[in-house]
Amino acid sequence: MDKAAVKNELVKMLGHEKVLSEDLDLMYYSYDSSFLTKLEPANPTAVVMPRSTEDVAQVMRFAFENDIPVIPRGAGTGETGGCIALRGGIVLDLSTWDEIIEIDASNMQVLVRPGVIHAKLNEELAKFNLFFPPDPGSSQMCTIGGMVANNASGLRAVKYGTTEQYILGLEVVLANGDIITTGGMKAKCIKNVSGLNLTKLMVGSEGVLGVVTRVRLRCWPKPRARGIAMAVFDNLDEAPAAVLDVYQAGILPSGIEILDSSAINAVNSFKPQINLPQAEAILLFEVDGNPPGVEFEGNIIKEVVGKRARTVEWSTEAKRMAELWEGRSITATAAARVKADGSRIFAGEDISVPLSKVADTLRQIRALGDKYGIKVVNYGHIGDGNVHTAPVINPENPDEVEKVLQLVDDIHRLAVELEGTTTGEHGVGAVRRQYAELEHGLAVKYMQGVKDAFDAKGIMNPGKLF
């Protein structure tokens, strides 16, 4: 079916207000936050902004009959090209279908449409002293639908885990237009082992199995207090060892972040007033809970980490906590400062390795950067071994682009070699699917079997995940 016919049918089906099909408009859907789409933006055939499950089902039935790819999209903040129409097709822009259908405080859960912004959801939940714990850095921008599709997590995954742990059920429109509810048609219960767990299958499936149109999320009581410890290390190896010490002391912090020397330099050159101490690594431990418990755990962290760190500073005072946290929160932005004409790129940015290999990983990444002559800034969620690597290049210099692509490939392979994975929380999308065989071997065949069962014609988000 040609482009004009697709447009006409969609408009006939949904009206002009829900469809974009002018060439110029489509260009705005050719990118996400990935380096891939900086190099190769790809336009969809049309964009639809659904406002009901039936809208989505209609589009799916039409696409199924006509073999047209369909690509679900949230806020386009992903770093993997996961929401890009690499082979044309209809992009479903779900990012502004953002209704909070029901906050069921008495059952500690909330029912939402996929476009609800993470931060806004937590603003609303806070009114009931509740929160949805996974905490991505893109909280102000990313949607719940995107978090479900990528099984996103973030700074507090070390204690609270990832999105999948909070999904009680989903409404999903499948490739042929069927609408299913996972987790039980009517179920609102917390414990549920009835049937095959399709919810867990859908979470993290990156839109290759269906379109999530409604999400029932479990919420937790909002902690009443927080405290932060900043520990400064002269020896990088001591940092993961200190993390282990804290765990062994019976403490599970809500966040443990690392900045290595490259990140410390980047932060200091971006905002000299922050003035982070020069060191091989800085760790930030955050604990949350009730005030006496926070104070108690803070004291233990100070004592335990103090044996390995040059200094440890502990604070529960809001202003000081914000100051201590500021270095970490600006690292992603500050990274670009390590090179005069540089820009931080999102590629090879999300590997995850065992805690015991974090220090080795950071050293090897640094060595790879030196090998290719590319500055790399490292930081991340050390508590769960999730390292964020920020290569800084001039993306308009073809030589640097070529080198950085080799570097990124090496980093991905390094992660697998060190018994880790190419992605801890950002997803596979189009940029890491080439490592599927390397990571999963024969399992990929069975992944494809699952995909075929849900999407016989292969129209759901083709070219992604594996």
Binding site: L24, S33, S343
Partner: protein, 430 residues
């Protein structure tokens, strides 16, 4: 300077990682709700223009033009990109390839000649006074106006019949001991639409020890031109004003208008005149430019006569984007209001979100502008204030129209007018 070589175009586009932070704060995106209105989309499109992938056609201008230039995206951009500058530069590039006779008339012929602009505006005031605007509206004649003007002409509520310049002399002597000589950059909108602000400004400045000079030959600050793709004209206006003001021996150059002071500030002067021959002279000028409320609070540190006020008036303050975002000035206007004995300052939620006026935006994108305005008015009304203070004539016009739309009996007023009222009342009592 060639579009592709302009510093923001050359240096900043590549820094955008499309994180989407700008999307989450943009008031236009909040209304349009698709990616074509996202500021990062504008950055992307400017890149496409720069690289010649997209032709500089009017349809691209329409996309980029659907932006308030409120700078909310720029101040929130984690990568520090001046998104508004990229947008303005691209508008100008496209406009140069697609000139329009209407815009030439308005922005080159009228808006570069203060006398001509004044006469036209005063005529408009006359038309309103005679009831001809209402007559034309009733007869359907306003429908023949271009673009959204048939709807938007309602925003232009009342045009005074005498401009500020007709009422205030060029030289105004300090009362008492002289502290500073200030040049008063009397912007077009204050001059023609809000002369009471100009009178209050001069009264307050002279009362607190300033000689105030209003140069006769000054012209528009160029902000409307930047917003409408007339960057060359804006450059010429800026160069003209630099020469005029630099010919006086001034300690400060003061503006009551957020847009003017932002247009004349160092950052924008660098954007327009950076790298040109006049650069040094221009920086000498811009380094003296200061927003009126900042000058009153931080330099003059004015104290209004104390008095026993039994019942204070609740006043809420709206941050103009060109003050809060473009210049980071949020405290000074509030502090000035706090120093007025009759005022009880109450904060509205989202005081620093745009009102949707943005100079000519409300005239070109009426429906969207009204949606943004209605949200702002809901927030302002929630304070129960009797007065809505702001420091920008464009915001003032928009908010005044907002009070009409929402049937809210509330005066929209510049803080300096309230300060001057308080002062004058104290002087009369003496």
């Amino acid at each position: 300077m060639e579009f592709q070589k302009l510093p923001p175009v050359k240096e900043q586009i590549m820094k955008c990682v499309r994180c989407g932070k700008c999307r989450s704060v943009c008031p236009v995106f909040e209304q349009i709700r698709n990616e074509t209105a996202a500021p990062r989309g504008h950055v992307f499109m400017v890149g496409m223009l720069r690289d010649g992938i997209v032709e500089p056609k009017q349809e691209v201008y329409e996309k980029l033009g659907n932006c308030l230039l409120c700078e909310t995206c720029s101040v929130n951009c984690p990568s520090g990109i001046d998104i508004h500058e990229l947008n303005a530069a691209a508008r100008s590039y496209i406009y140069d390839k697609n000139p329009s006779a209407g815009k030439e008339l308005i922005f080159d012929t009228m808006w570069t000649r203060p006398g001509f602009l004044r006469t036209t505006t005063m005529l408009m005031g006359g038309v309103q006074k005679l009831g001809l605007q209402t007559l034309a509206r009733n007869m359907g004649l306003t429908k023949i106006l271009p673009g959204d003007m048939p709807k938007a002409e309602k925003i232009m509520t009342s045009v005074p019949t005498r401009s500020a310049r007709k009422q205030i002399p060029k030289f105004n002597r300090a009362k008492g001991e002289k502290k500073y000589t200030v040049g008063y950059f009397l912007g077009c909108a204050t001059d023609l639409l809000n002369p009471e602000i100009a009178k209050a400004t001069v009264n307050i400045l002279t009362h607190f020890g300033c000689d105030v000079i209003i140069p006769k030959d000054m012209k528009c600050c160029g902000m409307p031109h930047i917003a409408n793709g007339k960057m060359d004209t804006a450059r010429n206006l800026m160069a003209h004003n630099v020469k005029i003001f630099n010919s006086y021996n001034l300690d400060y150059i003061i503006s009551d208008c957020a847009s003017c002071s932002s247009a004349l500030a160092h950052k924008n002067v660098e954007f327009l005149l950076g790298g040109l021959k006049i650069e040094d002279e221009a920086f000498k000028f811009s380094d003296k430019v200061m927003d009126l409320t900042t000058f009153l609070v931080e330099v003059l540190d004015i104290k209004l006569p104390d008095k026993n006020v039994t019942k204070k008036t609740r006043v809420t303050y709206h941050d103009p984007c060109h003050l809060a975002n473009a210049q980071g000035i949020k405290d000074a206007p509030r502090e000035l209001l706090r120093r007025i004995p009759e005022v009880e300052l109450v904060e509205m939620p989202g005081a620093n979100t745009c009102c949707g006026g943005s100079g000519t935006y409300s005239l070109t994108h009426y429906d969207l502008s009204m949606k943004i305005l209605d949200k702002k008015m809901d927030r302002a009304m929630s304070t129960g204030a009797a007065k809505l203070a702001t420091c920008c004539p464009s915001c003032t016009m928009q908010l005044k129209y907002g009070t009409v739309r929402s049937h809210w009996d509330c005066e929209v007023v510049h803080p300096v007018v309230l300060a001057n009222r308080s002062l004058q009342q104290s002087l009369v009592k003496k």
